[in-house]
Symmetry: C2
Subunit: 417 residues, 2 copies
């Protein structure tokens, strides 16, 4: 066992006093690549080496992810493979995508989770509360699609800058924490006239940079407070550091960036923050134009669905009865139904939802059994929410490649033989 | 890095050709104990050594479990700590209890999951089907409380033989697979007159033993077929070997032993199997008497609830407003309500369910906010199902210590200061 490992170059792995033999060695191997090696995955199985090392190795701070489930774009952008999405509604932490605007803070912030403090402003009684105190105020558990604003960017007809996500920058996750509305009530209510809920992340700002230019601070409309949580638990366990633990603002129905990790300040404000990530970033800018505050901010998600199986990457599909499976969600609304087309959108058949309904912000699994003769097919899905909003055929292209919910862009070409 | 590790003595870890550097070393350390070491948990955090090594180390075949969440009774009996149960409804695989009647088969059975075969008998067209074929027949996803028949055994007033589980031999898990009713329909239906559904596990029978004396083969009433699955997925990932992958019979509402791991044969039968685990095992025998077929078999679960927080093991509770949290389920029926008592059952208050309702077989989280003055309290919970069945004050004591759903036995004594 060598003492020379790469952990010392990984600033996000935290407290040197808690780095020891097994952790250091395992993480170092993960960070250094596993070429030619097998490894034990989160599910406890021994994966053949070939499967485990396809693509880039997992970054050290998320070495606990299942390598067979992930596409590593960069150290801060990891996508879930389409083939890794199961049919159990929820997405396990080990398969969930990663998108960080700044490196995660030092792991020392999760050494004593209950000691984490958040400042609440724009209420009658502005206060600083510890996580331990928040736990005494109220409890709610919400299942929610967590989706990167840029999920589907790689499917737009015109290439946009940024990670070319297909469908895997999304997952359905269960969060547990205190409802923001209960917290606000305990502090005397929101100050009259406030228009936005503004959350600030606890990431460390790299030295020499103007904080406003890189800080993760986002404003959402005040109405989003209704179902928002300050959450400390994800899928039944304390929120992993890479996903925003010890405390994350959860804004159900809003894209990932609005769900502030390591939240250290929650303020009700008159104006949107002037941090660049809000002012010019995450705007729906006409292609070629830069972002500015006059353009819509990337907030609520649109109704969207896609097919996970069969998929072209799994190869030729055997002719005969086939189950077409996928996921469908309504953004801020519950879903009513989903249709599937096997002829590129010429005709549609109603698919069946399977599994428990986890609420309006969750996705639902769907399945349709079809008989496929040999040939080529373009398969697509289209969801309708309870308000009658139907998933769009086309999404509006924009400089950032945000909010692609186009059913046509998400259609898959498969071969049946 | 030494080549001498304990993996070679672990028959359940499988194929030597797929044992390599990282796996071997990590597993060996896990199997050999982690005294004085920290380790990276499934959630990717570095756990202090003291927390990770409390109690016995994790057995090698479940080295991927979160050590901070588990109580290791023996290599085949691992319990979830009460403090590890979150409030997100589902129980992550890394926290889920383990109870194996026989060692898990060799991991080679999950090298090609789709190739696993199951024999279906007692139907018009008896057939052997591969997992790949099953996946084409139908799909259902069911959230379910998986609970060992002996969960709560350690809380009975009279000590029964077997693992002294408190509340942690249970979890709420999402399964995905083919409905048995769809499978049976595809095979022409159940043969007339059959009374039981009998599942046989694929565990290897130790040499020199009468197979009937140790094999895992259980019969349940035919009606249980209605919601049963042959499942290949748990919580969104292929079922881990330790939990019965690649294929497990799921009988919602029935205790753990009836959910046959590594299922290799599913038969509709006139009689219950004469395997010892059915004939004399898992019977509700009067205390001191041996099991025999005249006694009730351990099948359906009873309505049950318990409190996870505050718990005596977490120490003295601070006086003031406190959230009492727990889980409640109805066995084969959905739950209607749950009450909490802070005076040992003298008086009860209705608690509030929180989080999504995952269906009749799932548990629900509940919470009640109470103001506690300094003193001693006996806190208890009592669930009522939709048919009006109320959780019993006392469960019938029996030789095996099965089916303890007594609210009084599950009450907790806490100190408030």
């Amino acid at each position: 066992m060598t003492k020379h490992n790469r952990i010392s170059s990984e600033p996000t792995l935290g407290n040197p006093s808690r780095r020891h033999l097994l952790t250091g060695s395992a993480v170092a191997l993960a960070a250094g690549g596993l070429a030619g090696l097998s490894r034990t995955t989160f599910a406890g199985e021994v994966e053949p080496a070939a499967k485990a090392v396809a693509g880039k190795p997992l970054p050290a701070y998320v070495a606990w992810k299942d390598p067979a489930s992930m596409i590593v774009h960069t150290s801060s952008t990891l996508e879930t493979k389409r083939s890794a999405f199961g049919t159990s509604v929820i997405t396990p932490a080990e398969q969930l995508y990663i998108r960080n605007n700044l490196p995660a803070p030092d792991a020392s912030i999760i050494a004593d989770r209950d000691a984490w403090e958040v400042r609440i402003e724009g209420v009658a009684k502005p206060s600083t509360l510890s996580l331990k105190q928040l736990k005494g105020i109220g409890l709610e558990t919400t299942a929610m699609v967590l989706q990167c604003s840029g999920n589907g960017r790689g499917l737009f007809p015109t290439k946009a800058s940024g990670t070319a996500w297909a469908v895997g920058a999304a997952g359905c996750v269960v969060w547990s924490g205190v409802p923001v509305r209960d917290l606000v009530a305990a502090l005397g209510g929101v100050t009259d006239g406030m228009v936005y809920m503004t959350g600030s992340g606890g990431e460390k700002i790299p030295e020499g940079l103007d904080p406003k230019s890189v800080m993760v601070e986002r404003s959402v409309p005040l109405k989003a407070m209704g179902d928002a949580l300050l959450a400390w638990e994800m899928n039944g366990a304390p929120i992993p550091l890479a996903h925003g633990g010890p405390l994350r603002l959860i804004v159900p129905g809003y894209t990932g960036v609005n769900n502030i990790k390591y939240i250290k300040r929650l303020a009700f404000t008159l104006e949107q923050t002037d941090a660049a990530i809000q002012k010019t970033g995450y705007r729906l800018s006409p292609p070629g134009q830069k972002g500015d505050p006059s353009q819509p901010s990337v907030w609520e998600m649109a109704a969207k669905s896609w097919i996970n199986s069969p998929a072209p990457e799994a190869g030729v599909v055997a002719a005969g009865q086939t189950l077409i499976k996928g996921v469908a969600f309504g953004g801020v609304n519950a879903v009513k139904g989903v249709e599937v087309s096997i002829d590129g959108g010429e005709s549609w058949q109603a698919a069946k939802f399977v599994g428990p309904d986890l609420g309006r912000y969750a996705w639902r699994q769907f399945v349709l059994s079809v008989k496929l003769a040999p040939g080529s097919y373009t398969i697509a899905s289209r969801v309708t929410d309870v308000l009658g909003n139907q998933q769009a055929e086309r999404s509006v292209e924009n400089t950032g490649g945000y909010n692609n919910a186009s059913w046509r862009d998400h259609a898959l070409k498969i071969t049946v033989a």
